[in-house]
Symmetry: C2
Subunit: 116 residues, 2 copies
Amino acid sequence: MKVINLSDVTKSTVKMEGAKNVLKQIPIEKADGTPNMSMRVFTVEPLGHTPYHKHEYEQLNYIVEGEGVLINEKGEEKKLAQGDFALVLPNEMHQYKNVSDNRPFIFLCGVPKEFE
Amino acid sequence: MKVINLSDVTKSTVKMEGAKNVLKQIPIEKADGTPNMSMRVFTVEPLGHTPYHKHEYEQLNYIVEGEGVLINEKGEEKKLAQGDFALVLPNEMHQYKNVSDNRPFIFLCGVPKEFE
């Protein structure tokens, strides 16, 4: 059993091409012995965004704070705000953007443990 | 891709033996095509609790609101509040309790999709 507060989890800058003003934390990772899924938290600073990209694994999201959009494989924007969940399936093109110029957009992102 | 707000997800009462004042929602479940994990949300009403129990699968928790405790396999209480994550491993005895008499205790609970 592990219990940790988000404020105690190291933040690192996402350096992936196409990412702007994005920080990552990993409160639950494979080193903790999680059998299937890891849990990451992304903080997208004002006007920042993740790359518009896809990968072979799914993502389970929960929006903790702020307002943003999730762009789908058709380029359509779906609004995201606190209390929203999203499921991005394997190989779906997607991008998260913070639409605020003064508040962070923070969301959880569960992925298979192999990736973190 | 699925996007849904928690307020739009059906709530059901948990009828498992040992549960008191607990409601469950399942914003991401196997019917959505999730490849590995489902995401549930439990609302433990004031002075409510889950059973003190164990099972063969893990749980990944994030505390959305309120204050509670997570009781481990030794009977020790770990405080939980908004922003905390917990990982309960397979076959670990555990129980969640709301310690407030006037506020709900709400947390996410990721589990393998086979269970929801």
